[in-house]
């Protein structure tokens, strides 16, 4: 049973096809990178997976069950979490509070049936422990707005992890992270639990080749090819797509 | 026969009323779509236009057409001042701030109108040329109402063609679609928005003046008529020209029918209908979801 699978996933905007007949599989514990030139539809694909965009046709399966009709929050509850290209943290809250919130929601303690103070404390503890594992605990009480952007990107990943997903999708996690901090991001990604299936969209090839055990190449909304990193690196088609069409004038 | 009479009367008055609503509200729709500003004070421009035109006609003896043009220009200029002083700072602000600003403006305008003109509605003297009655097929209609219908229709067609067929129309449509891209293409969006805002406000003034016979010009105008302008824009679909036209007609007809057939219920059925329409189509009849 693959952790995540799509069958014939399709998305059109009028005559424009942004996702075409995508058949995608990812096993539990996978380390997959999704690459492709700008405008290839990578973020659209992720939006289709997590539910921000509805497909024109096709199905999506999470651990075997069909999640195509579910809303984003329902999909999160089924076990797929993501980060966004641009940070979406709650700027006025502290780092700890930002991580505590998804933990409470995940434990179904965020609703109107008010959780007791003990549940809040337990969630705060769990949040701290998670931050400690990611070596972000020093910033626990700082407001997100006070953190440098690179550090915020790390917290963004922590928030997704707090949801204890089976599938984690990271949308350009290194984007906007200054080179000095990017090793921290790479360490964090290295240290992700091996049971989680991780899909990363990235342009930073250093990160891609360090992290990925398999690479999917997306071009114009369709999968061009898939394979292990060294095969992809030497694939002439892939090189064409990245170097552009100068040969064809 | 009587029912036909009543029906024709409702039709005629309703369409005329709808046209007035359209002329006033279309500026709000475009401004909303263009600037993204919830300008609830749009009715203030209509009221101001009415006061300017009627003052010129009643106190200065100015001809009808002059008064109309003067109200358009005066209010358009006034709106530019407001835009520069106040609105401009709120383009990025939240909806709450824009709403509060608009309400504040309505309060101030209402108080000033009350102070300067007194609480009673302004007298309206329709110029001789377009007053009186017309006779079609054995039915009589007030000429002025017919005049309003014609004006509204001409404006609608003019705006439609203007947006579709002219360069400036193309620029406006581009800027509404994607402001930063339009700027990259060399379109001065600041100037453009200011002009469109002024034009929309001027239209409101025109509508207020023309419609003074149907919607009386009194200090409470901006607050009392607000919901009708909003209905036109929301039911029609924000940012469009066609949507408000249809919505204004429907509202005009619906409201007139209610007033004539079930006056004891007030506008209850109108509001209920609005709720049903928006339940089925939250973005309005012609809006983009």
């Amino acid at each position: 049973m693959p952790a995540l699978e799509t069958k014939g996933l399709n998305r059109r905007f009028g005559a424009l096809e942004v996702a075409g007949d995508i058949n995608f599989r990812m096993e539990a514990g996978a380390r997959r990178a999704l690459i492709g030139p700008n405008g290839a539809g990578k973020t659209t694909f992720v939006n289709l997976l997590t539910g921000q965009v509805k497909p024109s046709s096709g199905r999506i399966f999470l651990d075997g069950s069909d999640i195509t009709g579910l809303s984003p929050d329902q999909r999160v509850q089924r076990g797929i979490a993501r980060t966004f290209q641009l940070n979406t943290l709650l700027k006025g809250l502290t780092v700890l509070e930002n991580v505590q919130l998804p933990i409470l929601e995940h434990r179904k303690e965020g609703g109107l049936v008010l959780s007791g103070v003990r549940a809040q404390d337990r969630a705060a503890e769990a949040a701290y422990d998670l931050l400690e594992r990611l070596r972000l605990h020093d910033d626990a009480l700082r407001r997100v707005s006070e953190l440098p952007y690179g550090r915020q990107r790390l917290v963004e990943v922590a928030v997704a992890l707090a949801l204890e997903p089976a599938v984690l999708v990271l949308d350009e996690p290194a984007a906007g992270v200054p080179p000095a901090d990017s090793h921290r991001m790479m360490d964090l990604i290295d240290g992700l639990p091996s049971s989680i299936a991780v899909l990363i969209i990235e342009h930073d090839m250093k990160l891609v080749f360090r992290f990925a055990r398999e690479i999917t190449v997306l071009v114009a909304g369709r999968i061009l090819t898939e394979g292990p990193p060294d095969v992809i690196a030497h694939d002439p088609q892939v090189r064409d797509v990245y170097l552009g069409h100068r040969k064809h004038g | 026969m009587d029912i036909v009479n009543l029906g024709v009367g409702i039709l005629f008055d309703g369409v005329a009323y709808g046209m007035v609503l359209y002329v006033i509200a279309v500026g709000l729709s475009v401004t909303m779509g263009l600037l993204g500003i919830a300008n609830l004070a749009h009715g203030v421009f209509a009221m101001a236009g009415g006061y300017v035109a009627l003052s010129l006609m009643n106190n200065a003896g100015a001809p009808f057409w002059v008064a109309l043009v003067a109200s358009f220009v005066a209010v358009a200029l006034f709106s530019i001042v407001l835009e520069r002083l106040l609105y401009r700072h709120l383009y990025d602000a939240g909806e709450l701030e824009q709403t509060l600003l608009s309400i504040g403006l309505i309060f101030v305008a209402t108080a000033v109108a009350h102070f300067v003109f007194g609480p009673l509605p302004q007298r309206v003297d329709i110029p001789h040329a377009i007053s009186g009655q017309l006779t079609f097929f054995g039915e009589t209609f007030p000429t002025y109402r017919a005049f309003l219908i014609v004006v509204g229709f001409v404006l609608f067609v003019g705006l439609w063609l203007g947006l579709d067929r002219t360069m400036i129309g193309a620029r406006i449509r581009a800027a509404v679609d994607n402001r930063s891209m339009a700027q990259c293409l060399g379109i001065d969006t600041n100037l453009l928005f200011m002009l469109v805002f002024a034009f929309g406000s001027g239209l409101a003034a025109l509508g207020g003046s023309l419609g003074a016979d149907i919607i009386a010009i009194a200090p409470g105008y901006a607050m009392e008529q607000l919901v009708y302008f909003l209905i036109v824009v929301a039911v029609g679909g924000l940012g469009t020209i066609r949507g408000p036209f249809v919505a204004a007609l429907l509202l005009g007809l619906g409201d007139t029918a209610c007033k004539m057939l079930v006056p004891q219920f007030g506008a209850f059925f109108v509001y209920a209908a609005v709720l049903v329409v928006l339940l089925l189509k939250p973005a309005g009849l012609f809006g983009k979801a």
Binding site: T50, Q52, P72, D73, V76, A81, F84, T88, L90, G92, L93, Q100, L101, P102, L104, E105, H106, G110, L112, L114, V117, Q120, D121, A124, Y128, E132, H137, L141 | M32, A93, G94, E95, L96, L100, L101, I103, G104, F107, V108, T110, A111, H114, M223, V227, L230, I231, V233, A234, L238, G266, A267, F268, Y271, V274, L275, L278, L279, P282, A283, G284
Partner: protein, 338 residues
């Protein structure tokens, strides 16, 4: 380990009741003994605080900008009033019935209203209020129409306390109701539920991405806010023993919005600050010239928007920051403890 313990202690401290939070209650108690002739006005202020508090849940915390909140106040007022006139004697159960009624109306209309946003949402709120006003006007045999619902006779509270002419019993009644409502709101807002509301206001996309059913939660808070508004309306009906069509007016929606923003929205206590200021100012100034009052109110609103979005509490924040800069961390610590 020390970092962990310290951090968790700080987190727990945010829930703590601060000394300054007792201030409103001290003032309420003080007023009873020190200003007995002003009790009727004070009761009206309490009602307005409750009303504005209900709006704060919806607007201040969740970010739903509405001009139709008076609808639910009116439903509560008329329900309580009609019950009393129809010889449903007991005040407290009448209060509860009115609250539930307002909640139901809130649930149904909230479902329609929350499917829209921006100007449309604003308009729909107004339309609901106007619709209800038209209904109340039409069924004037039940509601009293434009003359208002009169002849509300309130039997003794709890069978013992007569609603007296000086308004003493009414005042205590209102104060207790406000206290209970405040307890509920405070608990709600300091809990994760309240945090998620702020999240919904600032970033609904993010909240959905952490598994929050955003639409459902908005509807829940809308219903709760409507119910509380109904509670305020019912309280008004019972203590004033009169209900007018003004309870269902767009004007009232605007007033409660102004009151909340004046004090500072999204802070729980904005209502407690804005309501007294507004009502006292209106009581003194509006009598001489309503036009004058309207003019200055509009100007103040514009001023708030242009200069101090957070209302009075926003100004207090600013002051706190300035003090911190001038007098260092000790002064700030005292401020935070308060």
């Amino acid at each position: 380990m020390q970092g962990r313990a310290h951090t968790l202690a700080v987190m727990r401290a945010t829930r703590r009741l601060r000394v300054i939070e007792l201030l409103p209650w001290l003032i309420l108690i003080g007023t009873y003994f020190l200003l007995p002739s002003y009790l009727p006005l004070a009761t009206q202020i309490i009602v307005m605080i409750l009303f504005a508090l209900s709006l704060d849940l919806l607007l201040g915390y969740t970010g739903v900008v509405t001009l139709g909140h008076a609808a639910y106040y009116g439903v509560g007022a008329y329900t309580a009033g009609i019950l009393a006139v129809s010889h449903w004697s007991e005040p407290i159960s009448g209060l509860l019935a009115a609250t539930v009624m307002a909640g139901i109306v809130g649930l149904v209309t909230g479902y329609i209203i929350l499917r829209t946003k921006g100007l449309t949402l604003l308009m729909l709120g107004m339309a609901v209020t106007l619709l209800l006003e038209a209904l109340a006007n039409h069924f004037n045999s039940i509601t009293g129409g434009a003359d208002g619902l009169q002849g509300i006779m309130m039997p003794p509270l709890l069978g013992r306390f007569e609603f007296d002419l000086y308004g003493k019993v009414g005042y205590v009644y209102a104060a207790v109701v406000l206290f209970l409502a405040w307890l509920v709101c405070r608990r709600l807002l300091l809990a994760p539920f309240g945090r998620s509301l702020v999240g919904i206001r600032e970033n609904p996309l993010r909240m959905a991405a952490i598994g929050v059913p955003v639409s459902r939660r908005k509807l829940i808070i809308f219903t709760v806010a409507a119910a509380l508004a109904g509670l305020a309306g019912a309280l008004s009906a019972q203590t004033n023993q009169f209900v007018s069509l003004n309870s269902l007016s767009f004007e009232l929606s605007g007033t409660v919005l102004v009151v909340l923003v004046l004090g500072g929205a999204g802070r729980l206590y904005g209502a407690f600050i804005g309501a007294p200021i507004y009502m006292i100012a209106q009581d003194t100034l509006a009598k001489s010239s309503p036009t004058f009052w309207l003019f200055w109110l509009g100007l103040i609103l514009i001023g708030i928007v242009m200069f101090s979005r957070g209302g009075v509490l926003g100004l207090v924040d600013l002051l706190q920051r300035q003090l911190k800069e001038r007098f260092g961390r000790n002064a700030a610590k005292i401020g935070e403890a308060l």
